[in-house]
Symmetry: C2
Subunit: 228 residues, 2 copies
DNA sequence: TGATGCGTTTCACTTATTGAAACGCTAATT
DNA sequence: AATTAGCGTTTCAATAAGTGAAACGCATCA
């Protein structure tokens, strides 16, 4: 992979990602992280800055820029998946009181795999799992990891406690194929919905109840999802 | 401006923007819009695709990619402004029944200036102004345009009817300086809040009432806003 | 006062980008 | 069927463009 690509652009995008991951970084830091020479990093960051993709704050550190916020917001609001999933997430919250998430597999490339929360419905319990849209969570050892690996058992959902976070039980189900074309993909689903709850509130019966709800909503979403 | 920049990256970012603006475009279309030769556009789009910033759908058209959605969502959720402004917008809705918006000046560069809606609180009237996060609106002739030009009168708010949209009255107020440093900027505020309502429901007294509410919330936000 | 690390600029070396042209393809058009 | 038009794609020589080591000034720290 990756033969036909322009190195300059790749590096610039890499820098952009590094800036976003960090939130705010100095030139020296990013250039170290991305293993680019300071002069190259500076030049590319300037280009990104000219285009509004990053900006320099008062401290001289680089931050995600307005253009990125704009394009991201556009892209987010055009993602029909989010709109389609929102009612399903809300139903899960209504039925369980726990927080529900829509996530997609993050872009694989920079080492370990991650998922990104695209939509959230907050639980109603006063003690609840809380996160935010755009949060990137590691897949390793999580129920989302199993789901994205395409290893979901026949029951249609995956449970994990003692996963990424302690004292937390996550129940996830895959949104298998979104496009109208049922083409054989690179394997694994592209999105998933999940319910995340404090473990102390869970028991086998409740886990199974929630699991079946999650699996049912995931199946229902398949019917709605259209090609675009 | 724009002397020290790498052309390749600039072009790639330009393509990225074009793809996002269009939502879904063919290679021929973007290459025409961006005035790039087809071969160059193809090569750059491939690079963007490899990095997940754009993706190719089943029809072979280019769309905003997951990486962009991820970075955008991250950037959006890290924008403390949005979190700070959300309660203020809601208060405006509660007090007026009309839709309230937080907007920032879009990246100036591609011709006419625009603003981008970053946060929205929908009005409660059944007939209300509706828009979406990420929407880009032209500044020309709008109250936002006046606000971003730094021409807000002493009253602290700007009113425009018959502006960008007909039959719509917009009332906007500037969020002057966000950073802790009150440094002399490039001039003009970077953000604004506004209330947008159907004109038929407005009258001078109501406009003034809303104007003072908007101006008050804008001033209140100044106190909260911190450097980061 | 010297040492360290930063952001920045310069510059010779080439490497990597470029775009016209040509290809195969599908879908209208004649 | 033959023809045209438009698309995505590949090739390739010309050269325009990106590269990074080195050096600079400026902070801060020992």
């Amino acid at each position: 992979m990756a033969e036909p690509a322009t190195r300059t652009v790749e590096r610039a995008l890499q820098l952009l990602g590094a800036v976003c991951d960090a939130g705010a970084v100095s030139l020296a830091e990013v250039s170290r992280e991305t293993e680019l020479s300071a002069s190259t990093a500076l030049r590319l960051l300037r280009t990104l800055e000219n285009s509004g993709f990053v900006r320099k704050d008062a401290d001289g550190e680089y931050r995600p820029g307005l253009r990125l916020v704009q394009l991201g917001a556009q892209a987010l609001s055009h993602e029909s998946l989010i709109h389609l999933a929102a009612p399903a997430l809300q139903r899960l919250v209504d039925a369980t009181g726990e927080s529900a998430y829509l996530s997609v597999r993050g872009h694989q490339g920079t080492g370990s795999d991650h998922a990104v929360y695209l939509a959230i419905a907050e639980g109603t319990h006063s003690v609840r799992h809380a996160s935010w849209v755009g949060r990137s969570v590691p897949l390793e050892g999580s129920s989302l990891g199993v789901v994205f690996a395409g290893k979901t058992p026949d029951a249609g959902y995956v449970v994990s406690d003692k996963g990424v976070e302690v004292d937390v039980t996550a129940i996830a189900a895959p949104l298998r194929q979104l496009g109208a074309t049922g083409a054989a993909d690179d394997g694994g689903p592209v999105a998933a919905i999940s319910v995340v709850a404090p473990s102390y509130r869970m028991n086998p019966a409740e886990v199974e109840r929630i699991g079946q709800l999650v699996a049912a909503e995931a199946r229902a979403l398949l019917g709605l999802a259209v090609g675009s």
